[in-house]
């Protein structure tokens, strides 16, 4: 692994809770920048000329009807789409000024600096402890001190510590749905990623679990940049600072959440959020 390209130095036991690279700098407005991005599944084009800048340490929501490309774009940020055969892209995506497709940047290093939470929570069939330290173990870290500190920090960060601190060795599959999703969030932030990507994280949760996760998102945004794909427009209004509306692979409108939901500029946006089509 080429250290100069690694945006995140390995977590140290002495500096809990600090996001070293970006803490001191003024938050960037173009922390995650997409330029002229086109994406293809084989012959089928899924994203058309996407241009957007996602600001640092804010929550950006992607909304749009099914099949509009919002999840596709999200999964390109950590190059997860490359796990599928026959995909190709044009254009670029830059994270903190550096292209994620840079030949010198290894995909696994990129993925370690980006956390992802999926729609259906998918904790490993291991203990709670092992789930969280997984990302550290695969990076070769095995010092018990560091692992323990990471587990506590991550679980506290995910508002789950008090509920599970006495049963860290229990199987993660024994948790409730909402707890499992918060565990997945804890797992995703264990490595102190630059960005947290969330693909409809609450769609399988009951209202109380959803509220807890949304509250968590609010707390997390002081440390992490968050991009969340959601079908639920009320969630976008509650949680996000900026909202992007996609339709049929194109970015139709992207603006402050307040503006999008009180007075959108595009008729398509208006029609979608008022339930006139979609």
């Amino acid at each position: 692994m080429i250290k100069s390209m690694d945006p995140q130095p390995p977590p140290t036991a002495s500096a809990p809770g600090t996001n070293v690279t970006s803490e001191l700098a003024h938050p960037r407005a173009d922390f995650l920048k997409v330029t002229d991005f086109n994406f293809y599944y084989g012959k089928k084009q899924a994203l058309y000329q996407i241009n957007m800048e996602i600001p640092q340490r804010q929550v950006t929501a992607f909304i749009g009807p099914s099949g509009c490309g919002k999840s596709t774009l999200l999964r390109n940020f950590n190059r997860m789409n490359e796990l599928i055969d026959g995909v190709r892209h044009e254009g670029d995506i830059l994270l903190n000024g550096r292209s994620i497709y840079d030949k010198k940047m290894e995909v696994i290093a990129l993925r370690r600096s980006i956390g992802m939470v999926f729609q259906k929570s998918n904790p490993f069939p291991k203990s709670i402890y092992e789930n969280i330290v997984y990302s550290l173990r695969i990076a070769g870290i095995s010092s018990k001190n560091i692992l323990d500190e990471t587990v506590e920090r991550s679980l506290r960060g995910a508002a789950l510590w008090d509920e599970v601190k006495d049963r860290l060795q229990d199987s993660a599959l024994g948790l409730s749905g909402g707890q499992m999703q918060r565990l997945c969030i804890a797992r995703a932030i264990a490595n102190r990623p630059e960005i947290l990507l969330m693909d409809e994280p609450c769609s399988a949760l009951d209202p109380i679990a959803t509220a807890k996760v949304e509250d968590l998102i609010h707390d997390l945004k002081s440390q992490f940049t968050i991009v969340i794909v959601t079908h639920n427009m009320q969630q976008a209004t509650r949680c996000s600072d900026r909202t992007a509306f996609f339709y049929l692979g194109k970015l139709i409108e992207y603006d402050d959440t307040q503006k999008i939901f009180t007075n959108p500029g595009e008729k398509q946006t208006e029609d979608y959020i008022t339930g006139r089509f979609g």
């Binding site: 997860m80 600096s113 992802m116 998918n122 291991k126 997984y134 990302s135 695969i138 997945c184 490595n191």
Partner: protein, 293 residues
């Protein structure tokens, strides 16, 4: 009461009752057939167990494990060497077949499921599951026995390995398919390499099912006679080296049950009982040790 409007269904009318009465009767009849047939399938299984127990139990004693087979016409003795031989040769077969089978399954399922190589491997494996066991014996005879110049435990183990390799491969593939794709995604999302994902997440999760497959293979291998006849032959003595002919339970049973001596025939029953017990223990151990935590 016929009018032009749609009347709600009268659930209590006699016509309805009669129809649903017939339907539930028919359903009960079919259920009874299913239950009956299920019970019927238990019959051969229980018969075998019962017969083996009845005929094998009388001669079951410690000497069976510690003594050598009696000569024709003699009484007493045991078949300890055959037990050891079976264990050794099945062990060799596992050592040869399991890594090949599991790693091949990993390749065809995790690395390139749709490549021509993967498709070819799958096709051939399915073909080989039907291979007559005697062919394995003949093949091992040609490859090992003729080239090394003698019957040996190696050859026996090799023949058994050929026999069980397709089963292990295919059940391992099924086990890997049974691992939720979500786990792999989560692992990649955290920045793991393919190998790390397989080693740390996929294989551990598939292990119980893989072990079940291996146990199936072991049960089959332990009971096969034909492959061993061409390769390990038999021996009346304790095993000294892996390069000599080796005794095995299955060949012993075959030999003794065709002799005209009552004692030997009884020995054969006891050997069968021991074989069944061994296989059962192996199965239970595998289930208990590798159960999904």
């Amino acid at each position: 009461m016929s009018t032009s409007t749609v009347e709600p269904t009268d659930f209590f009318s006699s016509a309805n009752a009669a129809r649903s009465g017939v339907r539930s009767l028919w359903s009960k009849f079919l259920s009874a057939i299913c239950v009956g047939l299920a019970l019927l399938t238990l019959v051969p299984l229980f018969s075998i167990v019962f017969l083996v127990l009845k005929n094998g139990l009388p001669l079951l004693s410690w000497s069976v494990f510690t003594e050598l087979p009696p000569a024709a016409g003699m009484t007493g003795g045991g078949f300890g060497n055959a037990i050891v031989g079976t264990l050794i040769m099945v062990g060799i077969a596992l050592l040869l077949a399991a890594p090949f089978g599991i790693l091949s399954a990993v390749y065809i399922n995790e690395y390139d499921p749709y490549s021509r190589l993967s498709n070819a491997v799958r096709f051939v494996a399915k073909l080989l599951t039907g291979i007559p066991s005697i062919i394995c014996g003949v093949f091992a005879y040609a490859v090992i026995v003729l080239t090394t110049g003698g019957f040996s435990a190696w050859a026996g183990g090799f023949a058994l390995a050929i026999l069980i390799l397709p089963t292990i491969l295919l059940t391992a593939e099924q086990a890997l398919l049974g691992v939720s794709q979500a786990y792999r995604e989560a692992s990649y999302g955290l920045g793991a390499t393919k190998f790390q994902t397989i080693w740390r997440v996929v294989l551990p999760d598939a292990l119980p099912a893989i072990m079940t497959g291996i146990m199936l293979a072991v049960a089959r291998a332990a009971g096969e006679t034909a492959p061993l006849v061409f390769t390990a032959l038999f021996s009346q003595f304790w095993i000294q080296s892996l390069r000599e002919p080796t005794a095995s339970l299955s060949v012993l049973i075959y030999n003794f049950s065709t002799l005209p001596f009552e004692h030997q025939i009884k020995m054969a029953w006891t050997a069968s009982l021991v074989l069944v017990i061994l296989v059962t223990i192996a199965n239970i151990t595998a289930q208990v040790v590798f159960r999904r935590r």
